[in-house]
Symmetry: C2
Subunit: 340 residues, 2 copies
DNA sequence: CTGAAAGCGCTTACAG
DNA sequence: CTGAAAGCGCTTACAG
């Protein structure tokens, strides 16, 4: 491979002049610079980034941990992270942990070995036990998409999940619903709490036994939970699913039970995944700004890097937004009027 | 940071003895090794991978280009690639090109600078114009998931897409269908050709005007194409969609046209994406072994690396498989008999 | 504006 | 089985 030394000889200068020209630093006469550039061109020189990293101590690479990339939520995060990185001349080292704590730990150890300038961990509970390993890390670390129990050692950029649930609840309240149930995943306590708050704020309550845990975070799980909810209280007029996939199952359950949505039953989801717009009826859902969240988290990291300091140990909450579609309507089963 | 030299001093040896112990190479007495290991432990030493890379010339990192990660097809590929890499002690540098040729080119240049040991490009037409840059690459490069015009300079691991289309066609033929149409994306010529071959093989034909290009690779695009197909030939008994998303739109179109699937119209998709099992009726589709394909491609690369040679310039085709579900049935609209 | 020196932290032959 | 030397290809002060 052609080295900086080769270019230097070709241009009749020393290698650090070449270095100066390439980095655009230091003072180099335009004539010399031109000669160097010509030599670079002729030789097809391209700097060895590994050597540069060893000299500078920076790899211009950021590590990202996500549980998986097969969910649109994390896929969006990965792409948003990559966008910010790209804008700033950084590369992305990706690790999906896939419910494998050992694997997560192994990769963590690899990254610690100075191959990464900063690290972002997106909602990755596979890593929760290994996070202490990072407290001695020599590079900035941040957490994002963390709904519960974020270790307070690291800066966090996440969603105001409690408010997300609240928005869903308030929407249902505004439509007049009083008897409602929740289909929830175990990890979604904050959004469930927010949902309930919207009712207690009005002097109502969502009793504990109206919260139905889904056996799995899948449509089938939502189907089962919705059936359970409907069986427990046939007088329900609305359902909040702590995740869209559960809501999709709930739509099925409503159909199976002969209940028309939203006339006989309103359903609100959470996350606003792309597929929910395709459901019939299109699902009302709480949209959470995933890409913005990812951007903020990376920018926090990059800021820390440029100040060569540790990031402020803060927690930043992005605000969710309710997206009203067709699956929610006023209590009482009034048909919507097609004409405006 | 603690260095190898620090460990050596602590253990009372020289640094290359430490190096030997860490790499498990060279002959070191068990007593010395134990002392070194103790020193490593006490000091919390972790080797600097960048320095090692500079010395060895290998980064143990493989680059992967994909168009996006938000499609389950590519998400699966990314995870499969990562699995193989992880099993072999390699890291993943990910680049999603997102229809941005300039960005693709920029990243390509970055990787060329010796920061990667090998490169895998998965079905990425954003890079097609920049592939020549890679012909001088000093590391092995492979292509996978390439349906058309794969440059014959690089080894390719892909799907026998022609056969995928053929399987769809043969299935329909076996069910007795003769008047069929195709909903296609422009990039899917091979699968369309395979589909047509199943008919010409039986002395029938799928005329050119029975191939309808979808305006977009979305359900809406499939909907429009299916409507066009049905309008052009109301006597159609079956539809082949070159991609599942189009098939999803076709299901809608059938519903809108008052045609029951599969009784009045059979529909076959392609790719066997996870969501098609959730469609109603569940979609018959051609499953393509994406993860296996990705594994093979990475293993090819890794093999080349261990032989420190260039990979054989070959093309390897993985075989697709038809998955029959509910959206296809015998021609003639006979209702399926629920009892065995 | 340009050049000589030292160093980043490791590994690779090669002596002993 | 262990150590002294050279080198991987850059960058960072520092003279001139």
């Amino acid at each position: 491979m052609v080295t900086m030394q080769d270019v230097a000889e070709r241009a009749g200068v020393t290698k650090q002049t070449v270095s100066n020209v390439i980095r655009g630093r230091g003072a180099v006469s335009t004539a010399t610079a031109a000669r160097v550039r010509a030599a670079v061109e002729e030789l097809g020189y391209t700097p060895n980034l590994v050597a540069r990293s060893l000299a500078t101590g920076a790899t211009r690479t950021v590590g990202l941990f996500v549980p998986t990339v097969t969910h649109s939520f994390y896929a969006d995060i990965v792409e948003a992270v990559e966008d910010v990185l790209d804008e700033n001349g950084y590369h992305l080292l990706l690790c999906t942990t896939r419910l494998d704590g050992e694997r997560a730990k192994r990769h963590l150890a690899g990254l610690t070995s100075r191959s990464v300038d900063a690290l972002l961990i997106a909602g990755d509970r596979d890593l929760i036990d290994h996070l202490p390993l990072l407290s001695e890390a020599s590079f900035p670390v941040a957490l994002c998409a963390w709904e519960t129990e974020a270790p307070d050692r690291f800066p966090v950029v996440t969603i105001d999940y409690e408010r997300a649930g609240y928005l869903a609840g308030r929407h249902l309240r505004e439509l007049g619903h009083e008897r409602v149930a929740v289909l929830a995943s175990p990890d979604h306590a904050p959004r469930v709490a927010g949902f309930r708050r919207a009712f207690t704020a009005d002097g109502l309550a969502v009793p504990d036994d109206a919260v139905h845990l889904a056996p799995a975070p899948t449509p089938a799980g939502g189907f089962a939970a919705a059936n359970a909810a409907l069986a427990a209280d046939p007088g329900l007029t609305a359902l909040f699913a702590s995740h869209d996939v559960l809501a999709l199952g709930a739509l099925e359950a409503a159909r199976a039970a002969g209940r028309s949505v939203p006339h006989d039953l309103s359903i609100v989801g959470h996350d606003d995944n792309p597929e929910v717009g395709l459901a019939r009826p299109a699902l009302t859902s709480v949209a959470i700004p995933r890409r913005e969240m990812a951007r903020e988290a990376v920018e926090l990291l990059l800021r820390a890097l440029s100040r060569s300091g540790t990031p402020a140990n803060s927690i930043q909450l992005l605000r969710p937004e309710l997206v009203v579609r067709e699956s929610t309507g006023p209590v009482g089963g009034r048909r919507a009027d097609p004409a405006g």
